[in-house]
Amino acid sequence: MEIVPLGDSALVVRVREQFEDAPEETLEEVLRVFQLLQRAAIPGVIELAPAYMSVAVFFDPIAVFKSNGAANGVFDELAKRIRSAVVPASRRHRRRIAARGPRLIEIPVCYDPEFGFDLDRVAEYTKLSEREVIDLHITGEYRVACIGFVPGFTFLAGLPKNLATPRRDVPRKEIPAGSVGIGGAQTGIYPLRSPGGWNLIGRTPLKLFDPTKDPPTLLCPGDRVRFRAITREEFESLK
């Protein structure tokens, strides 16, 4: 575990140096560290932001100083507290994770070409038919690695390798909310109308981000996700 400053009011706890060689394990460890830090409620810590291999800790340096005296400096003091909060994974924890497992959420997606603007592009690049692209995308089992970029944007790990397609050279200025895309080896869902460079293959009628709810997102880091193909009619009725 490495702790590095991210400016003077945040730091990054890196739990692994690589993601691709052991995605599941890395994700579990990120989530475990995230939960431990949440529970530890270290004075001065404002919020946490988990990503693929790291958890960022945003803090108020003055509050950290006031609560600790921080003779060794605010950063070292906070790093010390983080290290003592992040105890090694116990056998009990591993058993619990194995027993309970993360929740599985099914996302209905309409893969109609009217929504999947780039189905043809993905098919061409992957040398598959559009039908095969869709079938493969549905077969995959994914996990929410992290949420970011815009509120509620889910980065999903677990895209079947032969579906990987490079991002578009010129990003689109506007992508409709609910669009499901492939960007390199990742797949994800655009929760809001926003610009973006991923290849769009379909659209979900579900609302992924709702600021009036707590939590404001339908999916949370660690969730298991499966896609289910729906017709245009189902799409309209679920909207």
Partner: protein, 322 residues
């Protein structure tokens, strides 16, 4: 209990000190891009320092007040008028019902923060009144102000006004107005500092960068000598923060501000320190900026000194109010 937006200006939005606690869901900080300026303005009018005010970009806002209010603003160099009287930054004005407050065009810098006694009364969304202009929530319907909008104001705090008309006393000058056309920004090394070669580091620390036109509340885009990475490996995305300077493949750095995304994949060469974020928030197209390295200890010391000075100022104000 309202103010009428006669002209909304270029870009005016409701902002408080920002939205925290939802970064794990991808929700950015938003909030006043210079939170310290808003805190000072709020203290001047007798508000809690975190009350929601208005962030005015490049000027043009005209407001008519429907009841008596105390107002103050801090930020760039703007000509601000109440009728025919000028209201300089950091001064306090006692407005009467019907008074009109007009912000001219920004002379130097591009943003300022207006505090109104009582504060702007919009609903809390995810714990904040700030407008998230990218995701369109918070503030007034998640958008910038428009001509004809009615800004609801909360009940005024029970303070006897310190002034009739416009105060002669003022907040410390470098708090009231921080804009410069050629500012220096102090930075800490970024986590990817060592991915850049010596030539690039020299370019970054010794050249002036000019602010390009496509800058906004997400970030300031900079033009200057190309910054090149030594390696071309794809980085795995991780958190970025307001103040982070990232270098996309174009070699043109982007200094992130309060509306920046929560996670980014570009290498981070440096981070502007918190006490200088208010200066960064004033950068506008054509300005030139230079970067100077400081230590993490110095960044924290500067922040604590400023906080101590603000505490003294707060005590001074409350003694004056009696």
């Amino acid at each position: 209990m309202t103010a009428i937006v006669q002209r909304a200006g270029f870009l005016t939005s409701v902002q408080d000190l920002g939205r925290t606690g939802f970064r794990q869901f991808g929700v950015s900080t938003s909030g006043a891009l210079d939170p310290f300026a808003l805190r000072v303005a709020n203290l001047l009018v007798g508000n809690d320092e975190g009350a929601a005010g208005l962030e005015i970009t490049l000027g043009g806002l005209h407001l008519r007040f429907e009841d008596e209010r105390i107002v103050a603003w801090c930020g760039g160099e703007f000509d601000v008028q109440i009728g025919s009287r000028a209201l300089p930054p950091g001064h306090v004005a006692h407005l009467q019902r019907g008074d009109e407050l007009k912000f001219g065009r920004a002379q130097i810098g591009c943003r300022c923060w207006l505090a109104i006694s009582g504060g702007t009364d919009v609903p809390l969304v995810l714990g904040s009144r700030s407008t998230d202009l990218r995701a369109n929530f918070g503030g007034i319907e998640g958008r910038a102000l428009r001509d004809g909008d009615v800004v609801l104001l909360a009940r005024r705090p029970g303070l006897s006004p310190l002034v009739t008309g416009i105060s002669r006393w003022t907040a410390p000058h470098d708090w009231a107005s921080r804009a410069s056309r050629h500012p220096n920004l102090r930075f800490l090394r970024g986590v990817d500092w060592s991915r850049f070669d010596d030539v690039t580091i020299q370019r970054f620390t010794q050249h002036e960068f000019s602010v390009s036109t496509d800058s906004d509340r997400m970030g300031v885009r900079l033009d200057g000598p190309e910054l090149k990475r030594q390696d071309e490996t794809d980085l795995i995305s991780e958190a970025v923060a307001p103040g982070t300077i990232q270098v996309p493949p174009s070699g043109k750095p982007i200094l992130l501000l309060g509306d920046c995304q929560t996670i980014g994949g570009y290498p981070k060469i440096a981070h502007v320190i918190t006490v200088d974020l208010g200066v960064a928030a004033q950068l506008r197209a054509g300005d030139g900026v230079r970067f100077f390295e400081v230590s993490l200890q110095d960044a924290h010391r500067l922040l604590m000194e400023r906080e101590r000075d603000l505490e003294r100022f707060r005590i001074g104000l409350s003694l004056q109010r009696g």
